[in-house]
Amino acid sequence: MMETLFINYEEAVAIILFGIGFTMVLFQKNLIKKIIGMNIMDTGTFLFLASTGYIRGRKAPIIIDGIQKTEAYINPVPSGLVLTGIVVSVSVTALMLSLTIRLYKRYHTLILDDIYLLSRHQAEDR
């Protein structure tokens, strides 16, 4: 069991990163820390995907010097997935940060529990 973990250390680290990020999003009270956790979580997944597609000793799948054998290159699909994932992650982070700014402007704190308490005391329409 431990051996397989050591051989596939990239995947193991990726899952650990994912776990760290996940618990941060879940349990951190501070909104900025939650967003950081979210990014760590995504990074973990990206590492997992990238290590899946990487084959030791091979090159990035860009044809140079006319070599067209598939054995010369790594699997390009996971790299493409990671790219797409990064785009998604960036846009989600941007949205979360803008929401955080809006909340901070209104409630002057970043702690989610405090914001919740404050908002309950403010009577808003409906």
């Binding site: 994912f18 990020g21 996940f22 999003v25 879940l26 909104l31 939650k34 979210m38 979580m41 995504d42 997944t45 997992f48 995907l49 899946t52 699909v77 996971p78 997935l81 797409t84 994932g85 998604v88 846009s91 989600v92 949205l95 979360m96 929401l99 955080t100 809006r102 909340l103 209104r106 409630y107 002057h108 989610l112 914001i115 919740y116 308490l117 404050l118 908002s119 005391h121 403010q122 009577a123 808003e124 329409d125 409906r126």
Partner: protein
């Protein structure tokens, strides 16, 4: 190639381009453009529906790259039916929500709201048609972002807070989903659902591979059930639905959460293979969680004293029904689940569109004590709310009854006595609870002994409490004490009801409410009366799924 084969892609692309276009249009133009485009998209989906009904499902290959490499859209009876249903409810919710845009959204941003609606449409359409799990992930994220967008257009603190909580939970869900997709790709080497299903069929005998498969499927399912609001994760619902503008609440509850379930369904059915899925214990867990969702959703709904939040909690219960259908399994179970997706979507959107109109006739308050007699003040909203609540309870002739009947039949023939017993028990308990909280509401909104004086006296006391309770806590913070004062004075203003009442009478026959509500209720009755035909159609769709 037949020209109809292009239609699924057109629905996605047209909505994407319209999203960009709407940012340049004026408010009014964007509004009407949205309605027209949705009718056009409905026509496209309907033609795909009738075409596939005659000739069977077809696959549209993007860029002509064949199966294991390219990206595919797949259209069958079920997909086109779901797309049509999504568009219909979207159309009704958009028109029904027009009236509230003026008060909820800043004047300069109406066209941006419609732009978001178009992007959301694109995501819904893509989720309905796609045959690729990663395309599913990308559009799932787009759906999350746009649904958060239509939530935060109402720029008040509570909505922003609800949006942040909604986003955080959705992000956890997306993260788990992506990890699950990575695992699946790792063991199968495919992202297209059909080749993935074939590979899984080959490796499903290997216990080691099955372990990874179970793990990845668990991640996928937890991710999507957080997003759709299955039992332990349903707590975000009341805030999200209760504080958004009514059109958005209707879209979020009846479409967005359903689209996630449809994707999950697609993965189970096509990506994993339904035989492999049915051997897994996951199905029973979904069954139990669904039952818990039905029970706790209904109980929480009973304890609420705010109409929108009550309806939101009842959504949690209805999501439970859908998962119970998946948990029972067999083609009958899945048929019942999909039928319920439609029945609930039609009913819940009507409830979310009617509730704020009842509130409008009651000094803009959704609290039960103020809603007394509101059905008499706004007759149309009262009537449609009554009909929708009857459908939720399960009065024969309406969609809610038919879907409950389907669940009962399914459970009866599921071959498992325990499941049969539990489903029947939960159906009866939940119907009872539904009746309890919906009839209670109906009696209240039709109560003629409405006493204006009582309302006028109670309300200031209620408002007076909030700032009083706040002042010690808020005194440390200079920005807070002003806000509640301003808010409460605003809320006091409409209390002499006669003036608001008069305006309401003129508006109660507004076509932007009557038309969508009539469409929704007619569809509801259609679904209720022709449930067998619809169930057969779903069955045909499932066979070619």
């Amino acid at each position: 190639m037949n020209v109809i084969h292009n239609f699924p892609l057109f629905t996605v692309l047209l909505s994407l381009f319209s999203g960009v276009l709407c940012t340049r249009l004026s408010n009014k133009a964007a509004k009407y453009y949205t309605a027209v485009l949705q009718v056009l998209l409905m026509a496209l989906s309907a033609s795909v529906f009738f075409y596939t009904l005659q000739t069977g499902p077809f696959t549209y290959v993007l860029g002509e790259f064949p199966a294991p490499w390219g990206n595919e859209l797949r259209a069958g009876v079920l997909e086109s039916m779901m797309a049509l249903f999504f568009l219909l409810v979207l159309f009704c919710s958009c028109i029904g929500g027009w009236h509230f845009l003026d008060e909820d959204i800043d004047e300069s941003k109406h066209n941006l709201y419609f732009s978001l609606i178009h992007l959301l449409t694109a995501a819904l359409m893509a989720l309905a048609w796609t045959n690729d799990i990663f395309t599913g992930y990308v559009f799932l994220e787009i759906l999350t972002l746009t649904s958060c967008g239509i939530l935060i257009v109402r720029e008040i603190g509570r909505t922003t807070l609800a949006a942040v909580r909604y986003m955080i939970l959705n992000l956890l869900g997306s993260g788990l989903f992506l990890l699950g997709v990575s695992f699946l790709y790792d063991i199968t080497g495919h992202l297209l659902l059909v080749p993935m299903g074939d590979t899984i069929g080959q490796i499903s005998g290997d216990p080691h591979e099955m372990m990874v498969l179970t793990l990845s499927l668990t991640f996928l399912t937890i991710g999507l059930s957080i997003k759709s609001g299955l039992f332990p994760f349903h707590f975000w619902m009341p805030d999200t639905y209760g504080w958004s503008t009514p059109g958005s609440a209707s879209i979020l509850s009846s479409l967005v959460s359903k689209a996630y379930i449809f994707l999950l369904f697609k993965i189970f059915y096509r990506g994993i293979g339904i035989e492999v899925f049915e051997r897994m214990p996951l199905r029973n867990i979904l069954f139990v969680l669904g039952l818990c969702g039905i029970f706790f959703g209904s109980v929480s709904a009973i304890r609420e004293n705010n109409l929108d939040r009550m309806v939101a909690f009842s959504s949690a219960a209805q999501i439970g029904y859908i998962y119970v259908g998946i948990g029972i399994g067999g083609s009958a179970g899945y048929t019942a689940a999909i039928f319920h997706i439609m029945a609930h979507g039609l009913t819940k959107s009507l409830l979310f569109l009617s509730a704020p109109r009842l509130a409008e006739a009651s000094g803009n308050s959704l609290l039960f004590k103020n809603l007394t007699g509101s059905g008499l003040r706004n007759k149309s909203a009262g009537f449609f709310f009554l009909m929708a609540s009857f459908s939720m309870i399960g009065i024969p002739g309406l969609a809610g009854f038919s879907s409950k009947l389907l669940f009962a039949y399914t459970a009866l023939y599921s071959g498992s006595n325990l499941k049969w017993l539990l489903t029947m028990l939960m159906l009866s308990i939940s119907s009872l609870l539904n009746t309890l909280y919906f009839i209670r509401t109906d009696i209240r909104i039709y109560n003629s002994s409405f006493d204006r004086q009582a309302l006028g006296e109670k309300e200031p006391g209620e408002n007076g409490q909030a700032p009083g309770a706040l002042s010690p806590a808020g005194s440390e913070n200079p920005a807070i004490p002003e806000a509640p004062a301003a808010d409460s004075s605003e809320e006091m203003a409409p209390l002499p009801l006669s003036k608001a009442d008069k305006g309401q009478k003129g508006r109660s026959a507004a076509p932007d409410y009557i038309v969508p509500a009539t469409i929704l209720i007619l569809l509801n009755i259609f679904l209720g009366l022709y449930s067998q035909g619809i169930a057969d159609l779903i069955n045909i769709g499932l066979k070619g799924f």
